[in-house]
């Protein structure tokens, strides 16, 4: 271990990811000629990944603060159900084109996002004010939110949305699928917040060392609460896309996304202990995963086989990450053992 570089910059990791991403696409183009590198295929992927991508972004932000949000999917499902119930209760199919319908749609979306923010707020409050560890808090809220959703719907899907709403999941603006635009917009906003604002810097600091940030005058509570509210909101946006694409809202959509969201975050360079990572890395991770997902479907893998591969990738990526000096030092410092720098 004598040649470890202590100061590995973020950029080398991002370049490596970019190379992997392009490499994977090239390999798959050859392996699946005619099926893979088509506009239609890429467009179909562009409709599919944003809902997951937003969830992964949400997970990323929570992890940067040194936490985790196990409740993102349950939040998404619940907010989707809320929006769905508003839309189906106030509209019948024949009013689909009615201008009044649009206002109901807007109301539904608005209500869903507020609900999403409240879900996130509860997480933030539990973690920062009550002092519950993030895993447990979001575990509890995950079960609770899915419980609410289950109680409201008794497991039956809520179906039948107006056309204007379905535009979200199926529409296009000049060749670009609407979901893709939404995702790109959110990713840019999050990236901006993390890189350019003082709030973003505080996020990293609280994740890196919450004690030091407390002692530096940073208000940890506000940072954490805001973090999880953003997480909730992203889950809410994701759910709008999801239920629009499925034209129904149900408990249990997207359960497999949880592992994948964590995988993508770790792949993208996020340190699960907090304080480190960039959106660009996560985005590339999302693309790599989507591309692989698409290829596996074309190969005919079962969902379980895919899960097998994701799990394997997660472990391998962590092993590689942990082989580098960065994570070893971090986890050592965090475990409050003495530093190995000579004392």
């Amino acid at each position: 271990m004598s040649d470890r570089k202590l100061f590995k910059t973020v950029d080398t990791k991002i370049w490596i990811l970019a190379v992997i991403m392009i490499g994977v696409i090239i390999v798959l183009t050859f392996v699946l000629p005619g099926n893979f590198l088509t506009l239609r295929n890429f467009q179909s992927m562009a409709y599919q990944f944003p809902e997951f991508g937003l969830l992964a972004l949400a997970m990323t932000i929570a992890m940067i603060t040194g936490g985790i949000d196990l409740s993102v999917i349950a939040t998404a499902n619940l907010t989707g159900i809320i929006a769905a119930m508003i839309m189906t209760n106030y509209l019948k199919a024949e009013n689909a084109g009615d201008p009044a319908a649009i206002s109901v749609v807007v109301l539904a979306i608005f209500a869903a996002l507020i609900a999403a923010a409240i879900c996130g707020l509860l997480n933030g409050v539990l973690i920062s004010l009550v002092g519950v560890p993030p895993i447990l808090a979001t575990l509890g809220t995950m079960i609770f939110y899915s419980g609410i959703g289950m109680a409201i719907t008794t497991g039956i899907g809520v179906v039948g949305f107006p056309d204007s709403f379905l535009e979200i999941g199926a529409g296009k603006i000049y060749l670009f699928p609407v979901p893709l635009l939404i995702f790109t917009g959110c990713a840019l906003v999050i990236s901006f917040i993390l890189n350019k604002t003082s709030f973003g810097l505080k996020l990293y600091l609280v994740g890196a060392n919450p004690t030091a940030s407390l002692f530096s005058g940073i208000n940890n509570r506000i940072v954490i609460v805001n973090t999880y509210m953003i997480t909730g909101l992203l889950a809410g946006v994701s759910s709008m896309i999801m239920i629009s694409r499925f034209n129904s809202a149900k408990v249990g959509y997207g359960d497999t996304y949880l592992l994948q969201a964590i995988l993508v975050a770790v792949l993208g360079g996020i340190d699960p202990y907090g304080g480190y990572g960039k959106v660009s890395g996560v985005v590339m991770g999302i693309i790599i995963l989507q591309v692989l997902q698409n290829a596996f479907t074309l190969f005919g893998f079962t969902p379980y086989a895919k899960g097998f591969i994701w799990g394997l990738m997660l472990i391998l990526v962590m092993i590689i990450n942990f082989g580098t000096s960065r994570y070893q030092e971090r986890s050592k410092i965090l475990r409050m053992t003495d530093q190995e720098v000579a004392d």
């Binding site: 505080k202 407390l214 002692f215 208000n219 304080g275 030092e329 971090r330 410092i333 000579a342 004392d343």
Partner: protein
């Protein structure tokens, strides 16, 4: 020599690019009291861990009881009779006193099944042997610092130790308890058990030891006979330099001047009660006392991390409520924390980032974004002002030496333009050269009108840098001392007396 219990023979140990130990040789014979001294960074901790088998060495040999161990494991070291009492005591907080005392013995004896009565018996027997009163089924996490230290010592003694290594054992003990410890060490010597005592309190080193080994920068400067040493010689060996000492002259307050900081009947039970003090501009006020006397707790209250129950805090005559660190910062108070690694720095973040975390609001441009230009300007300025030795702003803070790290913490607080600066243990774990530079810096800040409070364990530090010293005991201010009118020795006695208030 064949009656040497432990021979450390020419060992080397490096970590990433840092030579922690370079060709270190040390011989300890049975029944001796040996001290190990060295600045922070000298390699003391690594040497201890190497002897304990917790850390593997790169080259050389460790010979215990005439048996050579090229790859020493913790269990071997323990079996040979080497017991280490680490500075953090290495106890198990969620387990009971009985478990903590007897666990190591059971590991060593390779026991598979345990009987609780046996554990309690062992523990009680050992506690009685030392003459200590502790309940064996109390959880360690509920004990006081001094009691924990006793548990650690008792534990070390249960396992037929031949050599006990104590790393800074006296930090939390009163004079009386230290005396008991020393007579215990002498008792051990009479039974053929050696002690290796690591301490930075040179007066103690000279009092208890027969030989002193001095480490500097990873190398063994020498193994000296104590009777041939005095403090100055010892410091010279440790640092290679002669240090010039100076005291602090305070200009004196103007007549009718309102105190910069005034505390009236400040109380937070059980930390401290009825604290009354004033601090004037340009003063350096020292607060000293034993661990647990309430000094840091008081400081934390002034910084918004330990809300007082009653009393007033007045700054420049105006009453302030300080509920959060932010309140304190806005009132002009800065606090340099005790533990710079976990409280003062973001070790993995860059030096530059560490310097500006306190002034983020000032670095925003018109759109509310962090301006790279302003950021860079601030970072460069503070690196320069504080003479932080680094080639780049991007290097992580953990790459700096202790002295430079402390400068970063100082820098980040000076950036907030404080009126009142509270420094808690500002030179702990810092090499002597940096220490005097930091003292110099503090004195300059006072001359420029800042009010400074220095909280410290080290009597000579408060003596040479403060114009007034408060001694805290059990949460109260027990005495106020003028360094120009007392001697260091008198101050030490004041601090370490068990109870009673002495007049200055």
């Amino acid at each position: 020599m064949s009656d040497d219990f432990l021979i450390v023979d020419n060992i080397c140990k490096s970590y990433v690019g840092v030579h922690a130990l370079k060709n270190v040789t040390l011989k300890i014979s049975s029944g001796t009291i040996h001290c190990l001294v060295g600045e922070n960074g000298s390699g003391k901790s690594t040497l201890i861990k190497a002897v304990a088998g917790v850390v593997p060495i790169d080259s050389g040999e460790i010979i215990i009881n005439q048996k050579a161990y090229p790859h020493l494991h913790a269990i071997d070291s323990i079996r040979e009779g080497i017991q280490v009492i680490y500075q953090d005591l290495s106890l198990f907080p969620n387990l009971t006193v009985a478990e903590n005392i007897s666990l190591n013995q059971m590991v060593e004896e390779r026991k598979k099944i345990i009987t609780w009565s046996e554990m309690e018996q062992i523990a009680q027997r050992e506690l009685d042997r030392i003459g200590v009163r502790l309940k064996v089924d109390d959880l360690v996490e509920d004990l006081s610092m001094a009691s924990r230290q006793i548990v650690a010592i008792v534990r070390a003694l249960t396992q037929d130790a031949r050599l006990i290594i104590m790393d800074e054992p006296t930090t939390a003990l009163t004079k009386g308890e230290i005396d008991s410890l020393f007579s215990l060490i002498l008792d051990l010597k009479n039974h053929g058990i050696s002690t290796l005592f690591v301490s930075h309190k040179l007066s103690e080193v000279l009092e208890i030891s027969e030989k002193v080994a001095v480490l500097r920068d990873g190398m063994m400067v020498g193994d000296f006979v104590t009777s041939e040493l005095d403090t100055n010689k010892l410091v010279f060996h440790m640092t290679g330099k002669e240090i010039v000492h100076s005291t602090f002259q305070y200009g004196g307050k103007k007549s009718g001047e309102t105190p910069l900081l005034e505390l009236m009947n400040l109380t937070k039970k059980p930390n401290y009660t009825n604290i009354n003090l004033s601090l004037f501009r340009g003063e350096i006020l020292g607060i000293t006392g034993l661990l647990g006397s309430g000094r840091t707790e008081l400081a934390l209250s002034l910084f918004g991390l330990n809300r007082p129950q009653s009393g007033q805090i007045k700054i420049n005559g105006r009453s302030h409520r300080i509920r959060t660190p932010n309140d304190a910062i806005r009132a002009g108070i800065s606090y340099l924390p005790e533990d710079r690694h976990s409280q003062g720095l973001f070790l993995q973040q860059s030096i530059g980032t560490n310097l500006i975390v306190t002034i983020l609001k000032r670095l925003l441009n018109k759109l509310g974004m962090v301006s790279e230009k302003k950021k860079l300007k601030a970072m460069t300025r503070y690196v320069k002002d504080l003479r932080i030795k680094t080639t780049t702003l991007e290097a992580p803070a953990e790459s700096l030496s202790g002295g430079n790290q402390q400068r970063v913490v100082l820098g980040k607080w000076l950036a907030t333009d404080p009126k009142i600066f509270i420094l808690d243990g500002p030179t702990v774990g810092i090499d002597i050269a940096s220490k005097s530079e930091i003292h110099h810096l503090i004195k300059n800040l006072a001359k420029e009108g800042m009010g400074i409070i220095v909280i410290s364990d080290e009597i000579n530090e408060v003596f040479r840098n403060c114009n007034r010293i408060l001694v805290m005991k059990n949460g109260k201010i027990a005495a106020e001392v003028d360094p120009l009118q007392t001697t260091e020795k008198e101050l030490i006695e004041l601090v370490e007396k068990k109870n009673g208030v002495a007049s200055s």
